[in-house]
């Protein structure tokens, strides 16, 4: 097929692009764009976490408003990134803040869903026992529900991070920096090497960030939970996967 030969050329061009030192320097260079991209991502993820984690913990712990919350956060997933970002740009009079808010809005649902599901999924018997032993509401939240929610909560956070890394490239459309510039600018002049390089680095950034968060997850998720998950997985007939290992269960979208 002709595509084979064409692809060959494209990848040659891509390597040439990557080899050009001009693409690695200055404001438009890959390192700077990657740092900008990382910056937006962290800002958005932290911002979303600051909203979604307390809210998810509250709703999960108190059991109040769960249905409304789940419905709302599902609706938020349907928000089109491009529409949200352009709208907020215009409303915020062109400041970057509008766009960051857009990214935060997109990162909230997965974190919220993960946190809420994590608290909800904590074994009812365990929570009951905690209550029966005389733990107060706060003690139960911090000593039992939060530690048990961590696997799903971190799953939600990882989803959010992946999503924001991808979405932040669309934000280049309203003038933000980041690796999305390579995509959009490359596209305007049909410079496929540039586009491919952009895609490559965004994917790379996503993978790296996910690895870092996975590492963080290993550190903060109590060992006992991992042991428990492994014990479930080992049972030959219990083919059901432990929740803790399936953060994707909360669903993902991308941009």
């Amino acid at each position: 097929m002709a595509a084979g030969g064409r692809n060959h050329v494209i990848f040659q061009e891509l390597f040439a692009w990557l080899g050009d030192p001009a693409h690695w320097q200055g404001q438009d260079g890959v390192p700077n764009r990657a740092l900008e991209h990382l910056g937006y991502t962290l800002l958005a993820v932290f911002g979303a976490a600051a909203i979604a984690i307390p809210l998810g913990l509250y709703v999960g712990h108190s059991g109040r408003g769960g249905v409304v919350l789940v419905g709302l956060s599902n609706a938020m997933r349907a928000l089109p990134t491009l529409g949200l970002v352009t709208f907020l740009f215009l409303v915020a009079g062109g400041s970057e803040a509008g766009t960051i808010v857009g990214l935060i809005v997109l990162a909230v649902p997965p974190i919220l869903a993960g946190t809420y599901a994590g608290v909800q999924d904590t074994d009812r018997g365990v929570v009951d026992a905690a209550r029966g032993m005389g733990m107060t509401g706060w003690q139960r939240l911090w000593q039992v529900e939060v530690p048990n929610a961590l696997p799903l909560l971190m799953g939600g956070l990882r989803n959010a991070a992946l999503q924001v890394v991808a979405t932040a490239s669309v934000a280049a459309y309203v003038g933000l920096g980041g690796l999305g510039r390579l995509l959009l600018d490359g596209l305007r002049v049909i410079d496929y090497s540039k586009v491919l390089a952009g895609a490559l680095f965004i994917a790379l950034l996503a993978v790296l960030l996910d690895l870092v968060l996975a590492g963080l997850q290993r550190v903060i998720v109590p060992r006992g939970l991992r042991v428990a998950a492994a014990a479930v997985a080992r049972k030959p007939k219990a083919k059901v996967k432990p929740q803790a290992e399936a953060p994707e269960a909360v669903g993902r979208t991308n941009a």
Binding site: D123, G125, V126, D128, A129, A130, R131, G132, M133, G134, M135, T136, Q139, Q143, V144, P147, N148, P222, R223, G224, L225, V227, A228, A230, A231
Partner: protein, 364 residues
């Protein structure tokens, strides 16, 4: 002591889970709540530590209305054990046990030391302390659950079907363990189960609940089996209750008889025992089987000659074992052994029946 005074619980959806319950649980005893599913056992239990608040009526613990105490503080004074233990999966066994002491403000060091003590008390190895719950078997988890409930030395212990998730053999071990513990600790224990066998085995008093959360009978197990209050109770306690009731009849007064015996490794020249059955014992005088009347043995009795014995009756235990030993023995003579399993005599079914009849007459 725990008192329920005209306690009723109606849930929001209209279900009456407990209906006008009036009973008191004596201090220092194991009281078992038993009954079919949905009859309000759990609800009654949980009203004691205010996990559920009654709709009407009053619950007193040691004479004090529990509504007067702060729920969290009340609960720290009441041990609580549930099915599948409800252990914290994210904490080690030792930290699980130390939970209530830590909540009550003990130092971590002291709480851990206490936890280690309790681990031993419930018969677990000290090395288990560092494991996580998922690394224990079901039975071990239940032991940890009990240890955790005992950690702050609460006078009252609530146990909701604590052993129902483990298999029958382990379960019996746990029941024995609980009885052994209680002999030392003398707690006021309320134990929920839906298994009548467990109830009569463990309880000093048994409360049978019927659907709709009403108390059908509250009595000692022997009384329950011999004298069920009504058809519901009698059908609930099951059809072997006559036989099972023998578990509560002491065997004292039964006279052990003798039978001719031979050692397993003693050489026998020819016919043994003539017209009677002969019991074969090993070096330690533990029964190994019977030789039928007129059996001819040269040298050691061969396996074909040896008829397997029936169940063994340990002297001093309840009549149930004695009757079964007699019924299951090929000779009709139930073999009686001491605590070490050594032969001490035989009994017949006739003796057991006579003793039962005698007791019945005395009671009348």
């Amino acid at each position: 002591m725990i008192e329920f005074q005209a306690v009723t619980k109606r849930f929001d959806d209209g279900t009456t889970a407990v209906d006008n319950l009036d009973m008191s649980v004596e201090a220092g005893t194991i009281t078992v709540f038993v009954g079919p599913s949905g009859c309000g056992k759990t609800t009654s239990l949980r009203m004691v530590n205010r996990m559920i608040e009654p709709t009407n009526g009053t619950v007193l613990v040691d004479g004090e209305d529990i509504r007067k105490s702060n729920p969290a503080l009340l609960r720290r004074r009441i041990g609580y054990v549930i099915q599948q233990a409800g252990l914290f999966p994210h904490r080690t066994v030792l930290d699980n046990i130390a939970t209530v002491p830590l909540l009550s403000g003990w130092t971590r060091r002291k709480a851990r030391a206490r936890a280690a003590e309790l681990l031993e008390l419930v018969g677990l190895d000290a090395t288990m302390g560092k494991r996580y719950p998922a690394q224990l078997s079901g039975g071990q988890q239940q032991r940890v659950g009990v240890a955790r409930a005992l950690a702050a030395d609460p006078p009252v212990l609530l146990m909701d079907e604590p052993f129902s998730a483990v298999d029958p053999v382990v379960r019996e071990g746990l029941q024995d363990e609980l009885l052994r513990l209680q002999a030392d600790l003398d707690k006021t224990i309320v134990f929920v189960t839906h298994d009548i066998d467990e109830a009569v085995r463990i309880g000093e008093k048994v409360a049978v609940f019927r659907e709709g959360g009403r108390l059908a009978q509250y009595a000692a197990p022997a009384e329950l089996l011999s004298n069920p209050a009504d058809d519901f109770v009698s059908s609930f306690v099951g059809k072997d209750r006559g036989y099972r009731g023998l578990s509560f009849l002491e065997a004292d007064g039964i006279e052990l008889r003798g039978v001719s015996t031979i050692g397993l490794h003693e050489e026998q020249s020819s016919t043994v025992g003539g017209l009677d059955w002969t019991l074969v014992l090993d070096e330690d005088r533990r029964p190994r089987g019977w030789l039928a009347p007129g059996a001819v043995v040269h040298g050691e009795p061969a396996d074909e000659e040896l008829r397997p014995g029936g169940s063994l009756y340990t002297a001093g235990t309840a009549l149930r074992g004695a009757l079964d030993a007699a019924l299951s023995s090929p000779s009709g003579l139930g073999v009686v052994v001491d605590d070490d399993g050594r032969y001490t005599g035989v009994v017949t079914a006739q003796q057991v029946i006579d003793l039962i009849e005698e007791r019945r007459k005395e009671a009348a």
